[in-house]
Structures are given as C-alpha cells and as structure tokens.
C-alpha cells in the first residue's frame, strides 16, 4: 500500500523523538538533579577477585549468587518436573480421591501470592522437615571427596539445609504450574488413543505410560521450557527467605557497597542474559525438532 508510507515515517520519527527525549530527561535528572557519580569499574571485581595470599581467583558475591541461581534452576527444575508430573497424572486420574487432592493443592497455590506461599512453607520446611532429614550429621559423616562433590552440586555446605528449604519451596510452588501443563498435554491426546490401547488389552497404567504419555510429551515440551524460564525468574523470590542467590547477593552488595544503580542494573542484565539466552536456545531446539515431525 504505497500511499500509506509517509504516515508511518511520521510515526517512526515521533517514537524516536519520544524515546530520545525520555532517555535524555532521565540522564539529565541523574546528572544534574540527583548528582550520581557512576563507577562501573568496581563491578567486574564483584564477580571474581584475585586473592594475593593464595594466588588464585575466587568468586565474589555476584559470581556466587549467579552460580547459586543456576543451581537452584537446575535442581528446582528437576524436582518441579517430578512432583508436577505426579500431580498432573493425579489430576487426570480415574480416582476421585486423587483428583480432589491434586485439585485442592493446585487451586490453593495458584490463587495465593507466591510470596505468601513461600513464607508459610518455609516456616514448615525449615522447622519440621529439615530436622527430620538431619542433614548436618549426614554431612559430618561424609568423606572429603563426597564433600567436594556436594559443594560443587549444592554450594557451600554450611548453607545446605537453608538451600534445600528454599529449593523445596520453589519446586513445590512451581510444580502446581507444571502439573497444569502436564494435564493439558495428556488431555490433548485424542480419546481414540486411550480406547485403542484398552482394546489391545492394556490396563490403564500401561495405556498411560506406553501410549498416551509419549505423545503428550511432545506437546508439553514448549510450555515446559517456558515454565523453566519462569522458575528461574521466580527463584528470585527465594531471596526473601535468605537463600543466597543472585537477588539476595545483589541486595547485600547494593547496601554494603553503596553502588545501588550499578549493582541493580548488573543484576537485571544477568537475569536477562540467562533467561533470554535460554528462551532463544529453546526456540531454536523447538524449530529443529518440529522439522523432524
């Protein structure tokens, strides 16, 4: 539609001017009203710093926090997939008992703020479940090799009970959303598949595991990938119960160093790089997979 061109050029110009005006206004306020003096040189040293005593590099707060977020994402993702999968299967089960139970759990979690849920469950898990598991004595008995492996997998061991409480909170909360994806995937498999499986003499467990779930899985992968990214973002909530992940170390650093603007912008960029990178990666994998179907 050639005659329309000029009007959109106008819109382009308008938007560019508006954006530039907003940015320059903010910069003007920072410089002349707020008198903030930027100091970006300090930021790299918050990731890792050189230790002259031992002569090697050690991770500083932001680096440790980032690594902890990655650990939370991996373990939380696994745990949420397991519990969410079980819940999702309960949600479509024959037995009314299982359906009622899973429906109550999912309904409760989806209708209360994640923050409130995390606070409630944290008190329970850290005061009831953790003493039951008795991790401290378990660590005390472990050999040095195991300890090193555990540190690599779960972070500093003195924080392990703390880390596990946060991890369980995150996974329990995220599993409600995973289960809805699983349910939708199972329900998207045509009824005829069930009937055909039953006609071949399979019982309902076999039909589920051999016929329906494999087909449902293909449909679940894209939304599950999206949920994994949500899990990474939601893991920032765990900072409020003092789990030392990226947002928590960001808060600590912003207070202790006073470089509020730089630290928060860096934390934001780190999350963005992690989530956006994963989103692009999943998108590419998905396209490649769909080529084979």
């Amino acid at each position: 539609m050639p005659p329309r061109r000029p009007r959109f050029r106008q819109l382009d110009l308008l938007i560019l001017v508006a954006v530039l005006a907003l940015i320059s206004y903010i910069l003007y306020r920072v410089q002349f009203h707020f008198h903030y003096n930027w100091n970006w040189q300090l930021i790299p040293s918050y990731f890792a710093r050189y230790e002259p005593g031992s002569g090697n590099w050690v991770l500083n707060l932001l680096g440790q926090g980032f690594l902890m977020t990655v650990r939370l994402a991996i373990w939380g993702g696994l745990l949420a997939a397991l519990t969410g999968g079980a819940l999702g299967v309960c949600r479509v089960a024959h037995s009314l008992f299982l359906r009622l139970l899973s429906l109550t759990y999912i309904g409760l979690i989806r209708n209360t703020p994640p923050l409130v849920f995390i606070f409630i469950f944290y008190f329970f898990i850290s005061s009831q479940l953790m003493p039951l598991l008795d991790i401290e004595s378990w660590i005390a008995d472990a050999g040095p090799g195991t300890l090193k492996g555990l540190t690599f997998l779960f972070g500093p061991l003195e924080l392990l009970p703390n880390f596990l409480s946060g991890l369980i909170c995150l996974a329990l909360f995220e599993s409600a959303y995973v289960s809805e994806i699983i349910r939708a995937g199972i329900e998207a498999v045509p009824q005829g598949q069930w009937e055909a499986a039953r006609a071949l003499g399979m019982h309902s467990g076999q039909a589920m595991s051999k016929i329906v779930l494999p087909q449902a899985l293909a449909k679940m992968v894209p939304p599950l990938a999206g949920q994994f990214i949500s899990l990474i973002k939601d893991s920032s909530l765990i900072s409020l119960i003092s789990i030392q992940e990226l947002t928590f170390t960001g808060t600590e650093l912003a207070v202790s160093s006073g470089r509020v603007f730089e630290v928060w912008l860096t934390v934001g960029v780190l999350y963005f790089v992690l989530c956006f990178g994963l989103a692009r990666l999943f998108g590419r994998l998905e396209r490649r997979l769909s080529r084979y179907h």
Partner: protein, 274 residues
C-alpha cells in the same frame, strides 16, 4: 432386564466409590490439619486464633473500625486497581504499536516485551524503586504501581494482540471497503469485538496482578502482605497471621474469577461474524 440390573449395580458401585473417595479426601485433609497442629505442638507453638479478629476489625460503641489487615486489603485493592488501569493502557498501546508497520514501533515494543519477560518481577521492582523512583522523585506507592503495570503491561500486550488478530479478516475488509480510516477501523469495528475475546484472559491477568501485588511489600508499601509481616514481627503469631493473609487473598482472587465468569456468560460470545 439383565442389562438394567448390571447397569444399576454398576452405577451404585460408582456412587459408593465417589462417597469413599470423598471420605478419604476429607480424612487426608483432617490428617494434614492434625500434622500441622501436632507439628506446632512439638515446637511448643501457642495457637492464639482468638486474637486474630481484632486485627481484622473491631467495633466500638456500635461503630465499625477496620483493623490493620483490612486496611492492608484496601491498599492491595487500591494498588491493583490503579496498576490494572495503567496495565491496560500500556498493553493496548504496545499491542497497537506492534501492529503498525513502523519499524521504530516494532523495535520499541519488542525491547519492552523481551526485557519484562526475561527478568524477575522482584528485580524489576527493585530497579524501579531504587533507580527510577529517586531519579524522577516518585513516592513508593507510585513506584509500586508503575513497576506492577510495566510488568503486567507486557503480558496484556500479548493478550490484546491475540484478541485483535482473532477478529475475522472479513471485518477489516468490510470496514476498509466502507472507506473508514485505519484509526476508525480500530476504534469502531475491531476493538469492540476484540473486547469480548480478551475479557477472559484479562481476568487471569487481574488475578495474577493481585497475587503479584504482594511483592511490593519488599519496598514497604503498606499492603496486605506488609501488614501481615509487621503484625508477625510484633506478635509472633506466624501461622495464624499467614493463614489469615492467604485466606484473604484466596477470597479476593476466587471471587474475582467467579464474578467475571458470570459476567462472561451474559456477554454474547459468537457475534463476531463466525
């Protein structure tokens, strides 16, 4: 004859099974309740439910006064209302910009949506509160509204875009053949029809806005969660207060969902030329 007997038997068996399952479910709920009470007992937790009502409301000389929790609920509602309004504005603007053929509009909405969707809301709240608010001299309540609206606006944009695209092509062609200019097509033909389509997902958005508004307690806006946390710090009635706060949120979100689903049934859904 034989068939009716077996089908009746089968039906009766099903009824028994339902009754049994419901009973088992109730027993499990009771068991969980018992575990909570017992678990608290081993911690020597002192349940003081009788102290909760005074934090909700109290009546003096026949006059109703709302307590901190109800006041917090009011702040949560106020916060949600304002940010919902702003969310709709942001979302609609972004959706319309996305639909235009201007590259600058595309770029700016793309950047906005990607940034919002790929960073945690908590970090966005900190970014607005610690960076934008001092620069622009915003008070914390406005900062909270802005942060929530920026976040939900990106999701609203997607809802609006899908709603507009779901309008059949014939509607566009008909409007264009009547000689309507583009803005009039949007305003008079497309948006009125799209509203019906976007109402259910927007309800979901409003519910998630209520839930996400709990996060502004980290910047000490006096909403329901903040009031709850303050009371817990004062009284140490952790469980009673958190359960009450959760129940209040639950009432708010479920009643909103019910209200809208009733509203939806009254709107004619299939009038958009299907």
């Amino acid at each position: 004859m034989n068939q009716t007997i077996t089908s009746r038997l089968r039906q009766r068996r099903r009824h028994w099974r339902w009754a049994f399952d419901t009973l088992a479910f109730l027993i499990v709920l009771l068991g969980l309740g018992w575990i909570i009470v017992e678990g608290a007992g081993t911690l020597h937790y002192n349940w003081q439910w009788y102290r909760i009502p005074q934090y909700l409301y109290h009546i003096e000389d026949g006059v109703f006064y709302s307590g901190p929790l109800l006041r917090g609920l009011g702040v949560t509602l106020e916060l949600t209302g304002w940010s919902l309004l702003l969310t709709l504005i942001f979302g609609l603007t972004a959706a319309l910009l996305q639909r235009s053929s201007s590259w600058a509009a595309h770029a700016i909405t793309r950047v906005y949506v990607e940034i919002v969707r790929n960073t945690p809301l908590l970090v966005q709240i900190y970014l607005v509160y610690f960076i934008l608010a001092p620069i622009l001299d915003l008070d914390r309540f406005v900062a909270a509204i802005l942060a929530l609206a920026i976040f939900e606006g990106a999701f609203a944009a997607e809802i609006f875009r899908a709603g507009i695209e779901a309008i059949p092509k014939g509607q566009w062609e008909a409007a264009r053949s009547l000689g309507l200019p583009s803005h009039a097509i949007h305003r008079l033909v497309i948006l009125p029809q799209a509203i019906r389509l976007v109402l259910p997902p927007l309800t979901g958005l409003a519910v998630s806005l209520i839930k996400h508004s709990a996060l502004v307690s980290v910047i000490a806006v006096a909403d329901l969660t903040t009031e709850g946390r303050n009371l817990i710090a004062d009284t140490f009635m952790t469980f009673e207060l958190w359960f009450t706060v959760a129940a209040l949120y639950l009432v708010l979100t479920t009643s909103l969902s019910l209200l809208i689903s009733r509203l939806e049934r009254r709107l004619p859904m299939h009038s958009a030329g299907h």
